[in-house]
């Protein structure tokens, strides 16, 4: 039995104010294996740590138990103390007397029971400590390259930050241009600077950066590997235009005979079958939409090929695959809009042309948009005089939409209201809202300004929008006055909430990161690890993690970049030794563990088994990839033969703990 030392911490009055620490230490001295037991005010402090180092030396301790706070807080601190004392850092076990005892049982009437519980917790820790085994982290090399999925403002910012640190970046965007949703916006609240003016220079910077390789009109199809050593397969969709020859002169897209509704302008404008999404697109080279191209629908045309001065048009182009190796992945797939047409009958299910979404309004009011910046009713082209805004369409609606707040709609509606009042003299603006949330810097000031400009805010929901002649009648409730309101409007703008971008679930499955109940990617910790995921080496940036505005998105993108730099600027990675291990002699190769592993860390391997008196036999067994394994332990439960053990939490150790507590 190893020689165990127990150190009971008062944590000031956090533990010491409720529990009798000297008594705990005294009782712990009688536990099997304990050769030294003491207490101290703050074991984590410098003199506290010295106490451990000295005791290890003086009493020749082989295992150390600290009874203090949560391992989340100080397990690493004390492991370092053991390292300094010359012990393996994993010869350490913690009993959580603070969160598990003193904080939850402060009541003086249960003092005695709390004291007994504390002693039991220490007994458990000692029982486990006696069975601890030395563990050693492995070393894995790092590929100094980062894959960024999604080329919106989050992807752009994070790619630039990583590339500026001197690391190679691969930026993959599924649309023909980078820029995402931000370049569709007109002005940005609350400063009213032009969205394109601040984002297009960043797009150009991406294209020109020597460390960034840009893949537009491409998708990541497969991701394998683990932190520091991922392999990804990128599908470069056929553009039917050879971008190495194209010089972006624009002859083809101005002369294409086809017109189709323009998805970049949300159907408010038109484009050709060969097109660039918008004039500042990066790359500024076109793609052919084969579904609408006259050459493929009718078999003849070929105008673009004839007109192209460089011979870049290639109708026979095929999708290509690029296999890359990267050390880290930043997911920045962004958001889409809540599909309100399918749900909200009271706003007309999308039947009324003058009921538009906030993003459509952005395109309309944008100087480079389909109307050249003129606000007009889509039905008649006339200028609207009365405009109604409806907030929380799809957000904060448990019954039909999403439970969460989309965070940016209050502010963009305020901005829209301002733009209408500014551009259309004598106009009236009404905003139906539930609450107005102006949490950011300068946001509340902006909202006040818009109200002072004449926007009428009505607290209540809209029950019906219907057409009456050329007008849209908006009927709703003013819950502050307790009255019905009816407004004859020329245009209705819906503040549609944000949802995860289409295909987010596929990305989650492909990389192996969890989604929350609404489909946004789950961060590792909501407060302290907001850009990490539970999969090592995979980070999140922007709205794919949850709705957020541009400043928050950019901050998170830079945060993710900093994390990637911290990871990739090292020569080698230390692996976490608390991972699963397969006892191949016991493994029957049924691989029941493989499908339960959320990190895809288990793979079959064929081994040659040599048993006495028998010819060598080839057999399949499970093997854990220590780079991928996160130590969750799901496999250990799936294994009927008990062939898998989680290092640091072995069956032996756990049963010893249970025995210590229950017997």
């Amino acid at each position: 039995m190893p020689r165990i030392g127990v150190f009971v911490c008062w944590c000031g009055s956090n533990i010491g104010g409720v529990l009798d620490c000297p008594a705990i230490a005294q009782e712990a001295a009688s536990f099997p294996g304990v050769v030294y037991s003491t207490e101290y005010k703050y074991v984590c402090s410098d003199p506290g740590q010295k106490l451990i180092v000295d005791a290890v030396k003086e009493h020749r301790l082989e295992r150390v138990v600290v009874a203090s706070c949560s391992p989340r807080l100080h397990e690493e601190t004390f492991r370092q103390v053991l390292r300094r004392s010359g012990l393996n850092p994993y010869f350490f076990e913690m009993a959580n007397l603070r969160e598990h005892c003193s904080w939850v049982h402060p009541d003086t009437t249960v003092r005695e029971q709390a004291q007994r519980k504390a002693v039991d917790l220490v007994r458990r820790a000692v029982a486990k400590a006696a069975r601890l085994e030395p563990l050693f982290p492995g070393k894995i090399p790092v590929v100094r390259r980062c894959l960024v999925i999604g080329g919106g403002i989050a992807g752009i910012q994070t790619a630039l930050d990583v590339a500026d640190a001197g690391l190679e970046v691969l930026l993959v965007e599924r649309e023909p241009t980078i820029g995402g949703n931000m370049v569709k916006l007109d002005k940005t609240f609350p400063t009213l600077d032009c969205s394109a003016c601040i984002s297009t220079p960043k797009m150009v910077a991406v294209a020109q950066h020597p460390n960034i390789r840009l893949y537009t009109y491409a998708q990541v199809e497969e991701v394998t590997g683990y932190i520091g050593n991922f392999k990804a397969r990128i599908r470069q969709k056929a553009r039917y235009v050879d971008h190495s020859k194209c010089n972006g002169c624009g002859t083809c897209w101005t002369r294409c005979p086809v017109t189709v509704p323009d998805d970049f302008n949300l159907g408010l404008g038109e484009r050709g079958a060969i097109y660039i999404p918008f004039p500042q697109a990066v790359p500024n080279k076109p793609v052919i939409d084969l579904e609408h191209c006259r050459r493929s629908t009718r078999g003849k045309c070929g105008a673009c090929a004839k007109l192209c001065p460089t011979g870049a048009i290639d109708y026979e182009q095929k999708d290509e695959f690029v296999d890359v190796e990267v050390g880290a992945i930043i997911v920045a797939t962004g958001y889409g809009l809540f599909p309100w047409e399918k749900v909200y009958g009271e706003y007309g299910y999308g039947r009324f042309r003058d009921v538009i979404t906030g993003l459509m309004f952005e395109r309309m009011v944008n100087a480079s948009g389909p109307t050249g910046g003129k606000i007009q009713r889509p039905s008649s082209g006339k200028e609207p005089k009365t405009v109604v805004f409806i907030q929380c369409v799809g957000s904060r609606d448990e019954a039909r939409g999403k439970e969460y707040c989309s965070r940016f709609c209050c502010m963009y509606t305020a901005k829209h209201a301002h733009q209408i009042l500014e551009k259309i003299p004598g106009s009236e603006v009404y905003v139906f809202y539930i609450d107005v949330r102006t949490f950011g810097k300068g946001y509340e000031e902006f909202y006040r300004r818009v109200r002072d400009e004449g926007a009428v805010y009505i607290r209540g929901r809209v029950s019906k929008v219907y057409q009456d002649g050329s007008k849209l009648i908006v009927r709703g409730a003013d819950t502050l006055l307790g009255e019905q309101v009816e407004i004859a409007a020329d245009m209705v703008v819906l503040a549609t909430g944000a949802v995860p971008a289409a295909g987010a679930a596929d990305v989650a499955r492909m990389i192996g990161i969890p989604q929350d109940k609404d489909g946004f990617f789950q961060e590792a910790h909501p407060k302290l690890r907001p850009v990490e995921t539970h999969t090592g080496g995979v980070y999140l940036a922007g709205t794919c993690q949850g709705p957020k505005d541009i400043p928050d998105t950019v901050s998170q993108a830079s945060g993710a970049a900093a994390k990637v730099c911290g990871l990739l600027l090292r020569d080698e990675l230390e692996t976490n030794p608390l991972v699963s291990k397969v006892n191949e002699a016991l493994c029957t190769g049924c691989l029941a563990c493989q499908p339960v592993c959320p990190y895809r860390a288990i793979q079959p391997v064929t081994i040659t088994e040599r048993l006495p008196g028998q010819p060598p036999r080839e057999r399949v067994v499970a093997r854990v990839n220590e780079g991928l394994c996160q130590g969750c332990g799901a496999c250990t439960v799936a294994c009927r033969a008990g062939a898998i053990d989680l290092k640091g939490f072995t069956n032996k150790q756990l049963i010893a703990e249970v025995d210590a507590l229950c017997l």
């Binding site: 989604q515 190769g589 049924c590 036999r617 009927r640 049963i655 010893a656």
Partner: protein, 321 residues
């Protein structure tokens, strides 16, 4: 049954010509109205092969003993799933195995048959007449109604013609299970007991378990290289092991419950555990209970899933958050 027996012998002879190394089938037992597993290793041994309504054994598990030999095995409808299970979990190399399916008219309960037949009569032939077996004995002909003489598991059988075999002998057999019989009737009965009565029911049964492990040895789902109940923990840590081999009521109960959970979702329903139990513990009650629960909770298991209890999807129900 004569035709099937002859076919078996012919097929075995042919397979040995084609390089077979082991044929696992049935031969007549040393006592009347009994069959036993038979292992033919050479051409000359195939003449002993038989098939009759006493071939109740599931031979699939024997395949595991010949991992490197080209082996053929005879399976009934209820045994075919066992081969599939062993292959799916990589205990067998399917390419080395020839699975020979026989149509099954149900297996007879030996004690009841013997009580019906004259004591000194010698069985000379058995024919399957759909709802009855006709026994020719030295003392005359005896018609045994299936309804009265079949094993309990055969009366609720839904799969008396094997699937997934390489070779099917004879004509497809008509269904033997009684229509409208609820396979979960007894499970429901036990579940309906109040907890003390249910505990008393199981305590009485588990108390007589000898821990002979016959149920485990015969089970096609119990295929671990080393069973968790056999693993020893060396040295001073002896106390800290999961499972005890002691023959006491709590440890017996522990063993059987753990085994039931280990085979849950993987049990092929062959009922061999119950058949081989020397103290007649109705083990299939446990297995059937879990099978019913799994069906109710997760629906039928898709064919590409090894076991519904061993899958993980991020969309899984998570009742703990």
């Amino acid at each position: 049954m004569k035709e099937i027996t002859e076919m078996l012998q012919q097929v075995a002879a042919r397979l040995f010509n084609e390089g077979l190394e082991m044929f696992i089938g049935y031969e007549s037992g040393s006592v009347p109205a009994k069959a036993r597993p038979y292992f033919a290793a050479v051409q000359g041994e195939t003449a002993a092969l038989v098939f009759n309504p006493f071939c109740e054994h599931n031979l699939a598990k024997y395949l595991v003993r010949f991992p490197n030999a080209k082996t053929a095995v005879v399976v009934k409808g209820c045994d075919a799933g066992a081969v599939e299970r062993l292959v799916k979990e990589r205990n067998l190399d399917r390419t080395r195995i020839t699975v020979i399916g026989v149509p099954c008219g149900g297996m007879l309960a030996r004690e009841r048959v013997l009580a019906e037949l004259p004591q000194d009569g010698k069985i000379t032939a058995i024919t399957d007449r759909r709802d009855a077996f006709v026994f020719q004995t030295s003392k005359g002909e005896h018609v045994l109604e299936k309804k009265a003489f079949l094993l309990a598991k055969c009366l609720i059988c839904t799969q008396n013609n094997p699937t997934g075999v390489d070779l099917m002998l004879g004509k497809e057999a008509p269904p033997v299970g009684e229509t409208g019989k609820d396979p979960y009737a007894r499970v429901k009965e036990i579940s309906a007991l109040d907890p003390p009565a249910r505990a008393a029911f199981w305590d009485r049964l588990m108390d007589r378990c000898l821990r002979c492990y016959a149920c485990r040895e015969v089970c096609p789902a119990c295929s671990c290289t080393e069973c968790c109940f056999e693993q020893a923990v060396p040295g001073w840590q002896q106390g800290a092991i999961w499972l005890s081999k002691a023959v006491t009521l709590p440890d017996n109960l522990h063993y059987h419950v753990i085994r039931a959970f280990h085979v849950a979702g993987r049990c092929t329903g062959c009922g061999e555990c119950e058949r081989v139990c020397p103290v007649r513990i109705p083990l299939m009650l446990l297995n059937r209970k879990l099978a019913g629960d799994i069906d109710e909770l997760y629906g039928p298991t898709p064919p590409d899933v090894p076991s519904v209890l061993c899958t993980y999807a991020t969309g899984d129900r998570d009742e703990f958050t």
